[in-house]
Symmetry: C2
Subunit: 321 residues, 2 copies
């Protein structure tokens, strides 16, 4: 949530010379995105987002992310469309960092989405999964079940500094998920981080899906599980069945869930909760002293995890049999 | 250069209900301004800047700043125009902070302005001084000569930690300026912080003057001295006479300088250099450990000060006799 690289108007004007975007009318560093530097720029051709990719994004992954956005935008998903320069390339370099320009999307991100907005999310998620078919690149999910044990080891015994008993709870859940994680569900390209702050709405219309920098190939229903975690709990961590039903039913209207996916939904939700619990835990334990950015609370996802551990089947999320 | 207060779309939508601005289409926290939280918002009526005033701006001063922007905008200065709510008030409250919406201005800030851009600055500065006449509020300059001794005392013996000899150089300069500071120059409303990053350009056209949060009443020529310091030195701290001449002559074309102002220009430039040297020095000595924002280098202004100490008269800045 900061601008890490300072770009001058003079440098940006030179950079824009490689594009067919006309003269520069304004640019502002914006507080957005996961550890990248983002600028809202306006040229004679309209508004765009310029991103400079900082250390946390691997350069090798950028063709996947940018190519995916182009693939999805071409298939009717409202996502940022990478802008190609005169030489046909969307991925360039600015101030020593990989950099790309994408189209600007209107809309605002809600903190507390309504059931109507949860339905809009279910609809776009299913359409995104369908539209992802045929994308020619693939990217392994580094934060799926095989990636969780290294995070548990990184947190180590410090987990109990965050909350007594957390270390043991995480270790036990991980062992159980490793033993029972579903392996043969329908798979494809997933967003993998489709939280409310990565969607834009104008009123109740979902006007944009953004921030594809965790996108990867994995079970499609796991993406739905991530969204159920991110969108359907209230501030007191009770699960809102109305929101869950709205999301799942809108999803199924565009992409039916098969029996294996429905049966797996509770364990996928547990996995999704553990995944965000673990990355938040590691971030929490590694805050530099004096940092301005407060990390997200890992315990929110422990509470969500405990809800999923007591779920018997997908009806608990609102799925209509 | 950060967003200090997190505003949700839900809170902003409620806030906008007090205005006649239509529905909210987008908003982004922007990395801009001196320790305030700024958002670029777009509504059905256009684009605006929303500012939440954080601790460093005194609430009592806000009617002066907002009133001044309205006064200047009404008189043809391209500056942000505070937007009044249904009840006629521009100063409101959001997330527990004083807050105001002003119009958005196009343009970008250059780091290294050209002589043509320096002339554009001189022109708008003189017009701003003329337009400020008749503004019904006034505000003392807390950072004029009487405000410098407290800063010297705050830095204390630590100044030499930044550079050997700095403490003594600052003390000697302050004593000299206190003894010889000109008292009867034409005075009025000054911007007092009109650095290149507080101006917007579209090409060579100065499209906006922003950030009035140091504006106050003081000698008009002191404002010109601040701009000569901020605009006319090269990266190696040599003074660019071409830029100085362009700025001064464009200024004089709109507001003639009298003999006392011309004679005082060297000492006003020394004062302006000491003022920014001192505030940067105090900030430099008080950086919290681990802070993300690197303070501006006070030594730049020591170098500029030494240039001014060797100036014999205003011709050294390019003034044509």
């Amino acid at each position: 949530m900061a601008v890490y690289t300072d770009v001058s108007a003079e440098e940006l004007a030179v950079f824009l010379g490689a594009y067919d975007l006309g003269g520069l009318l304004s640019f502002k560093g914006i507080a957005e995105g996961v550890e990248n530097s983002n600028f809202l720029i306006e040229t004679e051709r309209g508004r765009f987002i310029l991103t400079l990719y900082e250390k946390r994004v691997r350069g090798d992954d950028l063709p996947f992310f940018l190519g995916l956005m182009g693939h999805l935008a071409d298939r009717g998903i409202n996502c940022p469309l990478p802008v190609k320069a005169h030489d046909g390339k969307a991925l360039r370099s600015l101030c020593g960092r990989p950099a790309a320009i994408v189209t600007f999307l209107e809309g605002v991100s809600y903190r507390r989405p309504t059931p109507t907005q949860c339905a809009a999310l279910g609809d776009v998620l299913a359409r995104l999964h369908e539209a992802g078919k045929g994308f020619h690149l693939s990217r392994e999910n580094a934060l799926s079940v095989a990636g969780w044990r290294p995070l548990v080891e990184k947190a180590g015994t410090d987990a109990d500094r965050v909350a007594p008993g957390l270390g043991q709870a995480v270790a036990r859940e991980l062992a159980d998920l490793e033993g029972h994680w579903p392996r043969n569900l329908p798979a494809g390209v997933i967003h993998a981080d489709l939280f409310p702050n990565n969607t834009l709405f104008v009123g109740d219309t979902l006007s944009g899906v953004i921030d594809f920098y965790f996108a990867c190939n994995d079970a499609l229903a796991y993406d739905l599980a991530i969204c159920l975690n991110a969108w359907c709990f209230e501030a007191d961590f009770s699960f809102n069945l109305t929101k869950g039903r709205a999301m799942i039913e809108a999803y199924r209207a565009k992409r039916p869930l098969n029996g294996a996916e429905i049966a797996a939904l509770p364990i996928l939700c547990r996995g999704a909760a553990l995944r965000f619990l673990l990355t938040r835990l590691v971030d929490w334990l590694n805050v530099p002293p004096g940092a301005l950015v407060r990390p997200l609370d890992p315990l929110e996802y422990w509470k969500k995890l405990r809800f999923h551990q007591n779920v018997e089947d997908a009806s608990a999320y609102g799925l209509v049999a």
